[in-house]
Amino acid sequence: MENHKELDVLTMQANEANQDKKIQKFGRREILKSAIAGAALFAGGAPAVHAQQKTIRFLNAEPSRDSVKALRVAAAEYERISKVKVIIDTVIPDDAYNKLQASIAAGTPYDIGTLAFAGHVFILADAGKLVPLNKLVSKHKWGPRILFPINGQNYWYPYDYNFCWMYYRKDLYEQKGLKVPTTWEQMAENAKALTGDGKFGVAQPLGNNAAAQWMSLGYMWADGVKLLDDNFSLVVDNPTNKPKVMAYLDFMKKLSPSMPQGMTQALFGTVLSQYSSGQVAHAPYAGRLMEVIEDKAPDLVAKTGFFMYPDSAGKGQAVNHGYDGWVVLNTPMKDESLKFMEWFTENQYINFLHSAPLHFQPPRLDVYDDARWRAHPLVEKHANLVEFMKSFLTRKDVIIRSVDTEGPRVDLRPAKMFETFAITEALQNVVYNGMPSSEAADIMAKKYRTVL
């Protein structure tokens, strides 16, 4: 009530002043005085206002226009309701960890970051740079192999499974009378049958990069290969695994004549463009591929099918693991960051997932039954794809693996193994250099051992 009275008095004074303005002419001196006084007031007051406003710096590593927009809208909404400003900086995924690391080393760390590699979470947590998110994480049920706890603490909040599986051209399969492959042999035959007239059977990146390790190892996982045992000892060249690795390398050599040239240079975008342009009949990817062809080559949507990576004997199936998530850094703003994350994950999580509706595969199981998430037109339209994706989490027979998540728990050793690119070098040695698979497997194991 007191405030209302004050407001009334102020309003009356303002009205009187306005009346006066109509009859009183300001001289140049008065105008200058007012301007100086106003500037002084602004200069003096601005830092105080700025100091009062809390600011959270959020490093985003999802550079697509829709994802950035979703985060910015969420930040604006949060500022409106909480008066806490959230600044969204965006980098490409490959730069996220180095940018985060640089910000910490420079003494101006981001408050929230995006990471796509368990090893980076491990390093930051080990250095005491992260805040546990147990309270946030425990509110929901999660799919398998995604929380990556470190010493019983959950340091990250995943938003995307990022599995990789195979897409294929159903129309071409019908034309050639092919069946969805359940073995490597069938896969190689199908790819061969679809190669010719400037078209290729399959795109499988083979360079020393993350794309190749995400898109081309699924066949090997499907055959049950393990790189590390439960003690983080290398077992890839033991009597059980080495023959499987050799068979995998030989299979990839057999598959290679059905691939376009330049597979050592192929990255994520290469495969998307090769499939959406009709150059290849099979392509490995996550939901992004369907989003891309919906946008760029809608005629291919109905002609596209999908399957998991088959094994050599028709008994196993696998998808290659990938993941993305957020971490909260141990900064003076950690409490505010946690509050923001609590609000964001309850109120904006689905909006953010909708920025890549088929690509961001929810690791939170409640999302699959959430009508808000299912209401997205692409999620609705591709219900069969969504069910297929969900089956990776519910079926016990699906193998989910990746080099960087090998071993019994998150650790830096498999992350180091990932960065050696020993497996992609083995592929290059066999496919392009004609090296016997046994020798290539030995070199690979030797290289892995150097970092264990």
């Binding site: 390093i123 360079g207 376009p260 040239q261 960065e419 290059q428 496919v431």
Partner: protein, 295 residues
Amino acid sequence: MQGFRTRSDKALKWAFIASLSIILLLILVPVFHAIQLSLFQSESFISNKNWVGLANYIRILNDVVFWRSLWVGLVFGLLTIGLQVFLGIIFALFLDRSFPGLPIIRGIVILPYLLPTVVVALAFQWMLDGTLGLLTIWAEQLGFGRPSWFENSYLAMTVVIISSVWTWTPFVTVSFLAALQTIPKSLYESAKVDGAGLWSQFWHVTIPMILPMLMVIILLRSIWMFNKFDIVWLLTKGGPSSATEHLPILAYRRAFLQYDVGGGAAVATLSFLILSVLILIYFYYFPLEDKESSN
């Protein structure tokens, strides 16, 4: 050295000292920091550092990967420098003559040097694309099939060398052209009178006169090419099978990708030492003449 006597001389002295201090600061601080990092074991730039002394150096020097990368760097450096100097001299000799449209040709020649490296790398990647690349298609039409530019170790190294030579030869050309234009024409006329042919004029007049420039160019290009990271990284990332992985890429991989900051810093420090030794040897055999001694 006459010393700084006048007021303007003193100002010049302080400006010189200030500039030198800034340069030393900018050079020495990173060098000392790299050396310091190389004496610790650390998985990242924010992790706890453990003092290991020279262990990183011993580990790196015992690693076959280091020696392979050194060899790759030497091959890359020597071939690119040799080709740049050879082609640079030829182009400079050509452009030193008078013919219609010379200013335009000179302008065109410098163009590759003006392009950002990332543009050069993208252009080469497009031209060599396995499916749609212009050079790939030409090679196929000429009956060579579709070359595996980036899959074959030798071809990948060739691509990296050619793209480097294409980009940086104009710098060498322009430098030599400037040197050529300082040679008095009377020297050539005297040589002609003495019966010297074109080759003899080149060998006995041109080369001695541009020798100081040649020495500087070789020195500069050696430093730059030995440390060249961008074009190799953008084109091949050191592949295939580490065939183009030289020391700068190895250092980057170790420090920024393979969680071995100490190892990466040790590679960088060793690379710096090797280059310093090579330059000292170069100066020993090819001393840069100062003005007084040449007089």
